[in-house]
Protein backbone atom coordinates (compact mmCIF):
# COMPACT_ATOMS: atom_id res chain seq x y z
CA UNK A 1 0.00 0.00 0.00
CA UNK A 2 2.97 2.30 -0.48
CA UNK A 3 3.32 3.15 -4.14
CA UNK A 4 -0.29 4.00 -4.86
CA UNK A 5 -0.40 7.27 -2.95
CA UNK A 6 2.65 9.00 -4.36
CA UNK A 7 2.22 7.75 -7.89
CA UNK A 8 2.50 10.37 -10.58
CA UNK A 9 -0.93 11.25 -11.89
CA UNK A 10 -1.13 9.96 -15.42
CA UNK A 11 -4.77 10.69 -16.11
CA UNK A 12 -5.26 11.82 -19.68
CA UNK A 13 -2.29 9.90 -21.04
CA UNK A 14 -2.73 6.88 -23.23
CA UNK A 15 -0.11 4.72 -21.56
CA UNK A 16 -1.20 2.02 -19.10
CA UNK A 17 -0.53 2.80 -15.44
CA UNK A 18 2.43 1.18 -13.73
CA UNK A 19 1.76 -2.30 -12.47
CA UNK A 20 1.16 -1.67 -8.80
CA UNK A 21 -0.90 -4.47 -7.36
CA UNK A 22 -3.91 -3.29 -5.36
CA UNK A 23 -5.75 -6.52 -4.72
CA UNK A 24 -4.90 -10.17 -5.03
CA UNK A 25 -7.39 -13.01 -4.82
CA UNK A 26 -5.80 -16.35 -4.03
CA UNK A 27 -7.50 -19.75 -4.33
CA UNK A 28 -10.79 -18.27 -3.23
CA UNK A 29 -13.61 -20.76 -2.71
CA UNK A 30 -17.05 -20.38 -1.24
CA UNK A 31 -19.49 -23.12 -0.34
CA UNK A 32 -22.95 -22.39 0.99
CA UNK A 33 -23.31 -25.38 3.25
CA UNK A 34 -26.95 -24.89 4.03
CA UNK A 35 -27.88 -25.11 0.36
CA UNK A 36 -24.98 -27.42 -0.46
CA UNK A 37 -23.89 -25.11 -3.28
CA UNK A 38 -20.29 -24.55 -4.24
CA UNK A 39 -20.55 -20.95 -5.46
CA UNK A 40 -16.86 -20.28 -6.09
CA UNK A 41 -14.06 -22.71 -6.78
CA UNK A 42 -10.39 -21.72 -6.56
CA UNK A 43 -10.61 -18.24 -8.03
CA UNK A 44 -7.30 -16.44 -8.62
CA UNK A 45 -7.14 -12.87 -9.79
CA UNK A 46 -4.88 -9.84 -9.44
CA UNK A 47 -6.10 -6.26 -9.77
CA UNK A 48 -3.51 -3.65 -10.71
CA UNK A 49 -3.73 -0.01 -9.82
CA UNK A 50 -5.81 2.10 -12.17
CA UNK A 51 -7.24 -0.85 -14.07
CA UNK A 52 -10.86 -1.71 -14.72
CA UNK A 53 -11.89 -5.35 -14.48
CA UNK A 54 -15.31 -6.54 -15.63
CA UNK A 55 -16.68 -9.85 -14.45
CA UNK A 56 -19.34 -11.51 -16.53
CA UNK A 57 -21.04 -14.85 -16.27
CA UNK A 58 -24.41 -16.56 -16.27
CA UNK A 59 -26.71 -16.28 -13.26
CA UNK A 60 -25.45 -18.35 -10.37
CA UNK A 61 -21.80 -18.28 -11.43
CA UNK A 62 -20.90 -16.68 -8.13
CA UNK A 63 -19.80 -13.31 -9.49
CA UNK A 64 -21.89 -11.38 -6.95
CA UNK A 65 -20.67 -13.71 -4.21
CA UNK A 66 -17.10 -12.94 -5.30
CA UNK A 67 -17.80 -9.21 -5.07
CA UNK A 68 -19.35 -9.55 -1.60
CA UNK A 69 -16.37 -11.55 -0.34
CA UNK A 70 -14.03 -8.87 -1.74
CA UNK A 71 -16.14 -6.27 0.08
CA UNK A 72 -15.75 -8.19 3.33
CA UNK A 73 -19.52 -8.62 3.56
CA UNK A 74 -19.43 -12.42 3.60
CA UNK A 75 -16.54 -14.71 4.56
CA UNK A 76 -14.78 -17.02 2.13
CA UNK A 77 -14.73 -20.76 2.79
CA UNK A 78 -11.06 -20.94 1.83
CA UNK A 79 -8.46 -18.76 0.18
CA UNK A 80 -8.09 -15.06 0.74
CA UNK A 81 -8.48 -11.57 -0.63
CA UNK A 82 -5.49 -9.31 -0.07
CA UNK A 83 -6.22 -5.61 -0.40
CA UNK A 84 -3.29 -3.21 -0.18
CA UNK A 85 -1.29 -6.00 1.42
CA UNK A 86 -3.79 -6.74 4.17
CA UNK A 87 -6.27 -9.64 4.08
CA UNK A 88 -9.91 -8.59 3.89
CA UNK A 89 -11.68 -9.97 6.97
CA UNK A 90 -14.60 -7.57 7.10
CA UNK A 91 -15.85 -4.26 5.69
CA UNK A 92 -13.12 -1.63 5.40
CA UNK A 93 -12.89 2.07 4.71
CA UNK A 94 -10.63 1.51 1.69
CA UNK A 95 -13.35 -0.49 -0.08
CA UNK A 96 -15.98 1.41 -2.05
CA UNK A 97 -19.15 -0.36 -3.10
CA UNK A 98 -22.13 0.38 -5.30
CA UNK A 99 -25.23 -1.64 -6.11
CA UNK A 100 -27.78 -1.96 -8.91
CA UNK A 101 -30.16 0.26 -6.93
CA UNK A 102 -28.87 3.66 -5.79
CA UNK A 103 -29.82 2.80 -2.17
CA UNK A 104 -30.02 6.47 -1.26
CA UNK A 105 -31.86 7.40 1.94
CA UNK A 106 -34.95 9.30 0.77
CA UNK A 107 -35.07 11.49 3.90
CA UNK A 108 -31.58 12.84 3.31
CA UNK A 109 -30.47 15.42 0.78
CA UNK A 110 -27.96 14.55 -1.92
CA UNK A 111 -25.14 16.05 0.13
CA UNK A 112 -26.18 14.23 3.31
CA UNK A 113 -26.36 10.97 1.35
CA UNK A 114 -22.86 11.46 -0.03
CA UNK A 115 -21.51 12.17 3.46
CA UNK A 116 -23.24 9.17 5.05
CA UNK A 117 -20.17 6.87 5.10
CA UNK A 118 -18.18 9.58 6.93
CA UNK A 119 -21.03 10.18 9.36
CA UNK A 120 -21.35 6.46 10.16
CA UNK A 121 -17.60 5.97 10.67
CA UNK A 122 -16.59 9.27 12.29
CA UNK A 123 -19.75 11.11 13.36
CA UNK A 124 -21.74 14.12 12.18
CA UNK A 125 -19.02 16.68 12.90
CA UNK A 126 -16.50 14.83 10.77
CA UNK A 127 -19.07 14.57 7.99
CA UNK A 128 -19.78 18.30 8.21
CA UNK A 129 -16.09 19.02 7.91
CA UNK A 130 -15.91 17.07 4.66
CA UNK A 131 -18.74 18.96 2.95
CA UNK A 132 -16.44 20.83 0.58
CA UNK A 133 -14.95 17.54 -0.59
CA UNK A 134 -18.41 16.06 -1.13
CA UNK A 135 -19.43 19.11 -3.16
CA UNK A 136 -16.34 18.65 -5.33
CA UNK A 137 -17.36 15.05 -5.96
CA UNK A 138 -20.86 16.16 -6.95
CA UNK A 139 -19.23 18.55 -9.39
CA UNK A 140 -17.09 15.69 -10.72
CA UNK A 141 -20.18 13.64 -11.58
CA UNK A 142 -22.00 16.63 -13.04
CA UNK A 143 -24.42 17.27 -10.18
CA UNK A 144 -23.33 20.71 -9.02
CA UNK A 145 -26.28 22.61 -7.58
CA UNK A 146 -28.11 19.42 -6.60
CA UNK A 147 -26.63 19.16 -3.10
CA UNK A 148 -29.85 20.14 -1.30
CA UNK A 149 -32.18 18.11 -3.51
CA UNK A 150 -33.90 15.00 -2.14
CA UNK A 151 -33.55 11.65 -3.95
CA UNK A 152 -37.15 11.56 -5.19
CA UNK A 153 -36.39 14.62 -7.29
CA UNK A 154 -33.52 12.86 -9.08
CA UNK A 155 -33.74 10.67 -12.17
CA UNK A 156 -32.40 7.11 -12.02
CA UNK A 157 -29.13 8.09 -13.66
CA UNK A 158 -28.66 11.07 -11.35
CA UNK A 159 -29.34 8.90 -8.29
CA UNK A 160 -26.62 6.47 -9.40
CA UNK A 161 -24.21 9.40 -9.78
CA UNK A 162 -24.93 10.33 -6.17
CA UNK A 163 -24.20 6.71 -5.26
CA UNK A 164 -20.87 7.05 -7.11
CA UNK A 165 -20.02 10.11 -4.98
CA UNK A 166 -20.96 8.28 -1.79
CA UNK A 167 -18.69 5.43 -2.85
CA UNK A 168 -15.78 7.80 -3.59
CA UNK A 169 -16.06 10.05 -0.53
CA UNK A 170 -13.98 7.80 1.73
CA UNK A 171 -11.21 7.67 -0.88
CA UNK A 172 -11.33 3.89 -1.38
CA UNK A 173 -8.43 1.94 -2.91
CA UNK A 174 -10.85 -0.25 -4.86
CA UNK A 175 -14.31 0.28 -6.32
CA UNK A 176 -16.64 -2.71 -6.27
CA UNK A 177 -19.54 -2.23 -8.67
CA UNK A 178 -22.39 -4.72 -8.55
CA UNK A 179 -24.28 -4.23 -11.85
CA UNK A 180 -24.27 -0.49 -11.17
CA UNK A 181 -26.42 0.56 -14.13
CA UNK A 182 -28.46 -2.61 -14.52
CA UNK A 183 -31.69 -0.90 -13.48
CA UNK A 184 -31.35 1.98 -15.94
CA UNK A 185 -32.76 2.21 -19.44
CA UNK A 186 -30.39 1.41 -22.30
CA UNK A 187 -29.63 5.00 -23.38
CA UNK A 188 -28.99 6.23 -19.83
CA UNK A 189 -26.90 3.16 -19.21
CA UNK A 190 -24.62 3.85 -22.18
CA UNK A 191 -24.26 7.45 -21.11
CA UNK A 192 -23.47 6.43 -17.55
CA UNK A 193 -20.82 4.02 -18.82
CA UNK A 194 -19.08 6.90 -20.60
CA UNK A 195 -19.37 8.93 -17.40
CA UNK A 196 -18.03 6.10 -15.26
CA UNK A 197 -15.04 5.74 -17.55
CA UNK A 198 -14.32 9.47 -17.25
CA UNK A 199 -14.69 9.42 -13.44
CA UNK A 200 -12.49 6.33 -13.07
CA UNK A 201 -9.80 7.94 -15.23
CA UNK A 202 -9.92 11.23 -13.38
CA UNK A 203 -9.67 9.47 -10.03
CA UNK A 204 -7.21 6.87 -11.35
CA UNK A 205 -9.45 4.30 -9.72
CA UNK A 206 -9.03 0.54 -9.50
CA UNK A 207 -12.42 -0.92 -10.37
CA UNK A 208 -14.06 -4.29 -10.29
CA UNK A 209 -17.47 -4.50 -11.93
CA UNK A 210 -19.96 -7.34 -12.06
CA UNK A 211 -22.34 -7.17 -15.02
CA UNK A 212 -24.72 -9.15 -17.20
CA UNK A 213 -24.16 -7.10 -20.32
CA UNK A 214 -21.33 -8.13 -22.64
CA UNK A 215 -20.96 -4.78 -24.51
CA UNK A 216 -20.88 -2.92 -21.19
CA UNK A 217 -18.26 -5.33 -19.82
CA UNK A 218 -16.05 -4.82 -22.88
CA UNK A 219 -16.62 -1.07 -23.15
CA UNK A 220 -15.42 -0.28 -19.64
CA UNK A 221 -12.79 -2.91 -19.03
CA UNK A 222 -9.10 -3.42 -19.48
CA UNK A 223 -9.84 -7.06 -18.76
CA UNK A 224 -13.06 -9.07 -18.96
CA UNK A 225 -13.16 -12.03 -16.59
CA UNK A 226 -15.57 -14.66 -17.90
CA UNK A 227 -16.94 -17.05 -15.29
CA UNK A 228 -18.65 -20.41 -15.64
CA UNK A 229 -21.35 -21.91 -13.45
CA UNK A 230 -21.47 -24.59 -10.77
CA UNK A 231 -18.94 -24.32 -9.45
CA UNK A 232 -18.15 -20.70 -10.24
CA UNK A 233 -14.69 -20.50 -11.67
CA UNK A 234 -12.83 -18.30 -14.11
CA UNK A 235 -13.31 -19.68 -17.62
CA UNK A 236 -11.25 -17.10 -19.46
CA UNK A 237 -9.72 -13.66 -19.08
CA UNK A 238 -10.13 -11.52 -22.19
CA UNK A 239 -7.78 -8.53 -22.47
CA UNK A 240 -9.39 -5.45 -23.97
CA UNK A 241 -6.72 -3.37 -25.70
CA UNK A 242 -8.97 -0.70 -27.19
CA UNK A 243 -7.52 2.80 -26.77
CA UNK A 244 -8.90 5.17 -24.12
CA UNK A 245 -10.89 7.26 -23.71
CA UNK A 246 -13.40 5.03 -25.40
CA UNK A 247 -16.42 6.50 -27.12
CA UNK A 248 -19.83 5.03 -27.87
CA UNK A 249 -18.91 5.14 -31.57
CA UNK A 250 -16.20 2.60 -30.91
CA UNK A 251 -18.89 0.07 -30.04
CA UNK A 252 -19.65 -0.29 -33.75
CA UNK A 253 -16.06 -0.98 -34.82
CA UNK A 254 -14.97 -4.47 -35.92
CA UNK A 255 -12.41 -4.58 -33.10
CA UNK A 256 -15.13 -4.04 -30.50
CA UNK A 257 -17.38 -6.57 -32.23
CA UNK A 258 -14.57 -9.11 -32.23
CA UNK A 259 -14.06 -8.73 -28.48
CA UNK A 260 -17.79 -9.04 -27.80
CA UNK A 261 -17.83 -12.21 -29.91
CA UNK A 262 -14.89 -13.62 -28.01
CA UNK A 263 -16.53 -12.98 -24.64
CA UNK A 264 -19.82 -14.44 -25.89
CA UNK A 265 -18.07 -17.53 -27.19
CA UNK A 266 -16.26 -17.97 -23.92
CA UNK A 267 -19.54 -17.55 -22.03
CA UNK A 268 -21.23 -20.22 -24.13
CA UNK A 269 -18.37 -22.65 -23.56
CA UNK A 270 -18.50 -22.01 -19.82
CA UNK A 271 -22.22 -22.64 -19.66
CA UNK A 272 -21.94 -25.88 -21.61
CA UNK A 273 -19.10 -27.17 -19.47
CA UNK A 274 -21.02 -26.17 -16.34
CA UNK A 275 -24.14 -27.87 -17.66
CA UNK A 276 -22.36 -31.15 -18.28
CA UNK A 277 -20.57 -31.23 -14.98
Amino acid sequence: MTESTDRVDRAGQESRPVNAEVARITDLSKTFHRRGVKALDAVNLTLDHGTFTSVIGPSGCGKSTLLKIMAGLIPATSGEVLLQGRPVTGPRQDIGIMFQQPTLLPWRTTLQNVLLPIEIRSGSDAAQARSAEALQLLELVGLEGFDHVYPHELSGGMAQRVAICRMLVTGPAILLLDEPFGALDELTREYMNVELQRICRERDATSFMVTHAIPEAVFLADRVVVMSVRPGRIAEVVDVDLPRPRTLDMMTTPEFGGLVRRVRHSLNMGTEVGGQA
Binding site: K68, A71, G90, I97, I120, V149, H152, E153, S155, T188
Partner: protein, 291 residues
Amino acid sequence: MTQTTQGPPGRAEMSDAEELWYSGKWIDRVPQWVSITVLGLAMLGLWWLIAELMPQNLRILLAGPADTFEELWDTTKNIVTGGHIAEGLWITTQEVVLGFLAAATLGFLLGVVVGETRLGKRAVMPYLVALNALPKVAFAPVFVAWFGFGVNSKIVMALFIAFFPVIVDTAAGLYSVDADTVMLFQSMESSRWQTLRKLKLPSALPFIFAGLKTAAVFSVVGAVVGEYLGGGHGLGELIRLSAQTLRIDRVFALIVYLGILGLLLFGLVAWAEKKLLFWHKSEIFEIQGTG
Protein backbone atom coordinates in the same frame (compact mmCIF):
# COMPACT_ATOMS: atom_id res chain seq x y z
CA MET B 1 -30.36 11.83 -19.63
CA THR B 2 -31.36 15.09 -18.08
CA GLN B 3 -28.67 17.68 -18.49
CA THR B 4 -27.35 19.06 -15.27
CA THR B 5 -27.98 22.64 -16.23
CA GLN B 6 -31.67 22.04 -15.63
CA GLY B 7 -33.15 22.38 -12.18
CA PRO B 8 -34.71 19.45 -10.37
CA PRO B 9 -37.96 18.32 -11.95
CA GLY B 10 -41.04 19.82 -10.29
CA ARG B 11 -44.02 18.03 -8.84
CA ALA B 12 -46.37 19.53 -11.39
CA GLU B 13 -45.48 16.79 -13.87
CA MET B 14 -47.12 14.18 -11.72
CA SER B 15 -50.40 16.00 -11.42
CA ASP B 16 -50.42 16.41 -15.20
CA ALA B 17 -50.10 12.68 -15.55
CA GLU B 18 -52.87 12.18 -13.02
CA GLU B 19 -55.09 14.59 -14.87
CA LEU B 20 -54.58 12.73 -18.14
CA TRP B 21 -55.31 9.46 -16.44
CA TYR B 22 -58.56 10.51 -14.84
CA SER B 23 -59.95 13.06 -17.27
CA GLY B 24 -62.44 10.59 -18.74
CA LYS B 25 -64.52 10.14 -15.56
CA TRP B 26 -67.30 12.62 -14.77
CA ILE B 27 -66.78 12.38 -10.99
CA ASP B 28 -63.27 13.81 -11.41
CA ARG B 29 -64.60 16.87 -13.20
CA VAL B 30 -66.88 17.76 -10.23
CA PRO B 31 -65.08 19.61 -7.41
CA GLN B 32 -64.68 17.26 -4.46
CA TRP B 33 -66.51 19.49 -1.96
CA VAL B 34 -69.55 19.42 -4.23
CA SER B 35 -69.66 15.61 -4.40
CA ILE B 36 -69.18 15.36 -0.62
CA THR B 37 -71.97 17.89 0.06
CA VAL B 38 -74.40 16.29 -2.37
CA LEU B 39 -73.88 12.78 -0.99
CA GLY B 40 -74.17 14.11 2.60
CA LEU B 41 -77.45 15.88 1.85
CA ALA B 42 -78.80 12.76 0.14
CA MET B 43 -78.03 10.66 3.21
CA LEU B 44 -79.61 13.24 5.51
CA GLY B 45 -82.72 13.15 3.33
CA LEU B 46 -82.85 9.38 3.50
CA TRP B 47 -82.48 9.50 7.28
CA TRP B 48 -85.26 12.09 7.53
CA LEU B 49 -87.52 10.02 5.24
CA ILE B 50 -87.04 6.80 7.23
CA ALA B 51 -87.68 8.63 10.54
CA GLU B 52 -90.84 10.22 9.10
CA LEU B 53 -92.15 6.94 7.73
CA MET B 54 -91.68 5.16 11.06
CA PRO B 55 -94.96 4.14 12.71
CA GLN B 56 -95.80 6.57 15.52
CA ASN B 57 -95.22 4.00 18.30
CA LEU B 58 -91.72 3.17 17.01
CA ARG B 59 -90.66 6.72 16.29
CA ILE B 60 -88.90 6.98 19.64
CA LEU B 61 -86.38 4.35 18.46
CA LEU B 62 -85.08 6.48 15.63
CA ALA B 63 -84.56 10.17 16.22
CA GLY B 64 -84.81 12.14 13.00
CA PRO B 65 -82.22 14.67 11.79
CA ALA B 66 -84.13 17.65 13.20
CA ASP B 67 -84.41 16.16 16.73
CA THR B 68 -80.78 15.10 16.64
CA PHE B 69 -79.51 18.53 15.58
CA GLU B 70 -81.59 20.16 18.27
CA GLU B 71 -80.11 17.79 20.86
CA LEU B 72 -76.63 18.38 19.43
CA TRP B 73 -77.17 22.10 19.96
CA ASP B 74 -78.23 21.49 23.60
CA THR B 75 -75.26 19.19 24.13
CA THR B 76 -72.91 21.82 22.71
CA LYS B 77 -74.39 24.47 25.01
CA ASN B 78 -73.94 22.12 27.96
CA ILE B 79 -70.30 21.50 27.02
CA VAL B 80 -69.52 25.18 26.45
CA THR B 81 -71.06 26.19 29.75
CA GLY B 82 -69.16 23.45 31.58
CA GLY B 83 -72.09 21.17 32.38
CA HIS B 84 -72.05 17.47 33.17
CA ILE B 85 -71.49 16.55 29.49
CA ALA B 86 -68.37 18.74 29.49
CA GLU B 87 -67.16 16.76 32.48
CA GLY B 88 -67.89 13.48 30.69
CA LEU B 89 -66.11 14.66 27.57
CA TRP B 90 -63.07 15.67 29.61
CA ILE B 91 -62.94 12.30 31.38
CA THR B 92 -63.23 10.35 28.12
CA THR B 93 -60.65 12.59 26.46
CA GLN B 94 -58.17 11.82 29.23
CA GLU B 95 -58.83 8.08 28.93
CA VAL B 96 -58.43 8.15 25.17
CA VAL B 97 -55.30 10.32 25.10
CA LEU B 98 -53.52 8.54 27.94
CA GLY B 99 -54.52 5.14 26.53
CA PHE B 100 -53.25 6.17 23.11
CA LEU B 101 -49.95 7.53 24.44
CA ALA B 102 -49.36 4.37 26.49
CA ALA B 103 -50.24 2.20 23.48
CA ALA B 104 -47.96 4.21 21.19
CA THR B 105 -45.00 4.03 23.61
CA LEU B 106 -45.40 0.40 24.59
CA GLY B 107 -46.32 -0.69 21.07
CA PHE B 108 -43.32 1.09 19.57
CA LEU B 109 -40.85 -0.35 22.09
CA LEU B 110 -42.20 -3.90 21.80
CA GLY B 111 -42.41 -3.50 18.02
CA VAL B 112 -38.70 -2.63 17.89
CA VAL B 113 -37.88 -5.68 20.03
CA VAL B 114 -39.99 -7.92 17.79
CA GLY B 115 -38.73 -6.36 14.56
CA GLU B 116 -35.06 -6.13 15.48
CA THR B 117 -34.20 -9.24 17.53
CA ARG B 118 -34.29 -12.89 16.53
CA LEU B 119 -35.83 -13.74 19.91
CA GLY B 120 -38.57 -11.20 19.33
CA LYS B 121 -39.30 -12.51 15.86
CA ARG B 122 -39.19 -16.19 16.75
CA ALA B 123 -40.63 -16.22 20.29
CA VAL B 124 -42.54 -13.02 21.06
CA MET B 125 -44.26 -12.50 17.71
CA PRO B 126 -46.24 -15.80 17.74
CA TYR B 127 -47.70 -14.86 21.14
CA LEU B 128 -48.67 -11.42 19.88
CA VAL B 129 -50.37 -12.92 16.83
CA ALA B 130 -52.31 -15.32 19.06
CA LEU B 131 -53.20 -12.57 21.54
CA ASN B 132 -54.26 -10.28 18.70
CA ALA B 133 -56.70 -12.93 17.46
CA LEU B 134 -58.57 -12.85 20.80
CA PRO B 135 -61.66 -10.65 21.12
CA LYS B 136 -59.96 -7.98 23.18
CA VAL B 137 -63.14 -6.31 24.44
CA ALA B 138 -63.88 -9.56 26.30
CA PHE B 139 -61.10 -8.54 28.69
CA ALA B 140 -62.93 -5.37 29.79
CA PRO B 141 -64.52 -6.94 32.92
CA VAL B 142 -61.10 -8.26 33.93
CA PHE B 143 -59.61 -4.76 33.74
CA VAL B 144 -62.54 -3.37 35.74
CA ALA B 145 -61.91 -6.02 38.38
CA TRP B 146 -58.18 -5.24 38.44
CA PHE B 147 -58.19 -1.46 38.11
CA GLY B 148 -61.60 -0.45 39.50
CA PHE B 149 -64.44 1.67 38.17
CA GLY B 150 -62.38 4.84 37.72
CA VAL B 151 -60.48 6.06 34.68
CA ASN B 152 -57.62 3.57 35.13
CA SER B 153 -59.52 0.54 33.86
CA LYS B 154 -60.60 2.52 30.76
CA ILE B 155 -57.06 3.69 30.04
CA VAL B 156 -55.87 0.10 30.26
CA MET B 157 -58.70 -1.04 27.98
CA ALA B 158 -57.82 1.67 25.41
CA LEU B 159 -54.15 0.69 25.66
CA PHE B 160 -54.93 -2.99 25.29
CA ILE B 161 -56.98 -2.54 22.12
CA ALA B 162 -54.76 0.13 20.56
CA PHE B 163 -51.25 -1.24 21.04
CA PHE B 164 -51.43 -4.29 18.76
CA PRO B 165 -51.51 -2.37 15.47
CA VAL B 166 -48.53 -0.27 16.64
CA ILE B 167 -46.44 -3.35 17.50
CA VAL B 168 -47.32 -5.23 14.35
CA ASP B 169 -46.77 -2.26 12.04
CA THR B 170 -43.50 -1.22 13.73
CA ALA B 171 -42.15 -4.75 13.39
CA ALA B 172 -43.39 -5.00 9.79
CA GLY B 173 -41.73 -1.66 9.03
CA LEU B 174 -38.41 -2.89 10.41
CA TYR B 175 -38.66 -6.11 8.37
CA SER B 176 -39.40 -4.16 5.20
CA VAL B 177 -36.02 -2.41 5.05
CA ASP B 178 -34.30 -2.80 1.70
CA ALA B 179 -31.69 -5.59 1.85
CA ASP B 180 -29.18 -3.79 -0.38
CA THR B 181 -29.29 -0.70 1.82
CA VAL B 182 -28.67 -2.87 4.89
CA MET B 183 -25.66 -4.28 3.05
CA LEU B 184 -24.51 -0.76 2.27
CA PHE B 185 -24.64 0.06 5.99
CA GLN B 186 -22.66 -3.11 6.74
CA SER B 187 -20.05 -2.03 4.21
CA MET B 188 -19.78 1.29 6.09
CA GLU B 189 -19.08 -0.66 9.30
CA SER B 190 -22.26 0.67 10.82
CA SER B 191 -23.05 -0.54 14.33
CA ARG B 192 -26.37 -2.21 15.00
CA TRP B 193 -27.59 0.88 16.83
CA GLN B 194 -26.52 3.18 13.97
CA THR B 195 -28.26 0.99 11.40
CA LEU B 196 -31.41 0.99 13.53
CA ARG B 197 -31.38 4.73 14.13
CA LYS B 198 -30.21 6.00 10.76
CA LEU B 199 -31.77 3.42 8.44
CA LYS B 200 -34.33 1.04 9.88
CA LEU B 201 -36.42 3.36 12.04
CA PRO B 202 -36.73 6.12 9.42
CA SER B 203 -37.59 3.47 6.79
CA ALA B 204 -40.21 2.04 9.14
CA LEU B 205 -41.85 5.41 9.86
CA PRO B 206 -44.57 5.13 7.20
CA PHE B 207 -45.56 1.77 8.71
CA ILE B 208 -45.35 3.10 12.28
CA PHE B 209 -47.63 6.00 11.41
CA ALA B 210 -50.13 3.64 9.81
CA GLY B 211 -50.16 1.76 13.12
CA LEU B 212 -50.50 4.97 15.13
CA LYS B 213 -53.48 6.12 13.05
CA THR B 214 -55.23 2.82 13.67
CA ALA B 215 -54.33 3.11 17.35
CA ALA B 216 -55.86 6.61 17.52
CA VAL B 217 -59.21 5.22 16.37
CA PHE B 218 -58.94 2.06 18.47
CA SER B 219 -58.16 3.93 21.69
CA VAL B 220 -61.57 5.67 21.45
CA VAL B 221 -63.19 2.26 21.00
CA GLY B 222 -61.29 0.94 24.03
CA ALA B 223 -62.23 3.83 26.28
CA VAL B 224 -65.94 3.67 25.33
CA VAL B 225 -66.12 -0.13 25.75
CA GLY B 226 -64.45 0.31 29.11
CA GLU B 227 -67.08 2.87 30.09
CA TYR B 228 -69.97 0.73 28.87
CA LEU B 229 -68.83 -2.13 31.07
CA GLY B 230 -67.12 -0.30 33.90
CA GLY B 231 -69.31 2.73 34.52
CA GLY B 232 -67.69 5.99 35.57
CA HIS B 233 -68.64 9.46 34.35
CA GLY B 234 -67.39 9.52 30.76
CA LEU B 235 -69.29 9.95 27.49
CA GLY B 236 -69.71 6.17 27.16
CA GLU B 237 -71.58 6.04 30.44
CA LEU B 238 -73.76 9.01 29.39
CA ILE B 239 -74.57 7.23 26.11
CA ARG B 240 -75.48 4.06 27.97
CA LEU B 241 -77.80 5.98 30.32
CA SER B 242 -79.40 7.91 27.42
CA ALA B 243 -80.03 4.69 25.50
CA GLN B 244 -81.60 3.09 28.57
CA THR B 245 -84.10 5.95 28.76
CA LEU B 246 -84.61 5.75 24.97
CA ARG B 247 -83.14 9.23 24.38
CA ILE B 248 -81.80 8.18 20.98
CA ASP B 249 -81.38 11.81 19.88
CA ARG B 250 -78.99 12.34 22.81
CA VAL B 251 -77.14 9.11 22.01
CA PHE B 252 -76.56 10.38 18.47
CA ALA B 253 -75.43 13.80 19.71
CA LEU B 254 -72.92 12.24 22.12
CA ILE B 255 -71.64 9.90 19.40
CA VAL B 256 -70.96 12.96 17.27
CA TYR B 257 -68.69 14.25 20.07
CA LEU B 258 -66.94 10.87 20.33
CA GLY B 259 -66.39 11.07 16.60
CA ILE B 260 -64.90 14.55 16.90
CA LEU B 261 -62.58 13.27 19.64
CA GLY B 262 -61.40 10.38 17.48
CA LEU B 263 -61.00 12.57 14.41
CA LEU B 264 -58.96 15.16 16.33
CA LEU B 265 -56.55 12.54 17.61
CA PHE B 266 -56.34 10.92 14.18
CA GLY B 267 -55.80 14.32 12.58
CA LEU B 268 -53.00 15.13 15.03
CA VAL B 269 -51.19 11.90 14.14
CA ALA B 270 -51.77 12.48 10.41
CA TRP B 271 -50.40 16.02 10.78
CA ALA B 272 -47.25 14.76 12.51
CA GLU B 273 -46.89 12.14 9.79
CA LYS B 274 -47.09 14.76 7.08
CA LYS B 275 -44.41 16.87 8.80
CA LEU B 276 -42.03 13.96 9.35
CA LEU B 277 -42.59 12.03 6.14
CA PHE B 278 -42.14 14.86 3.66
CA TRP B 279 -39.94 12.49 1.68
CA HIS B 280 -42.51 9.72 1.53
CA LYS B 281 -45.13 10.59 -1.03
CA SER B 282 -46.80 7.97 -3.16
CA GLU B 283 -45.27 9.52 -6.27
CA ILE B 284 -41.75 9.28 -4.89
CA PHE B 285 -41.69 5.57 -5.52
CA GLU B 286 -43.06 5.86 -8.99
CA ILE B 287 -40.38 5.26 -11.55
CA GLN B 288 -39.49 8.69 -12.81
CA GLY B 289 -38.45 9.29 -16.38
CA THR B 290 -34.73 9.38 -16.93
CA GLY B 291 -35.01 11.20 -20.26
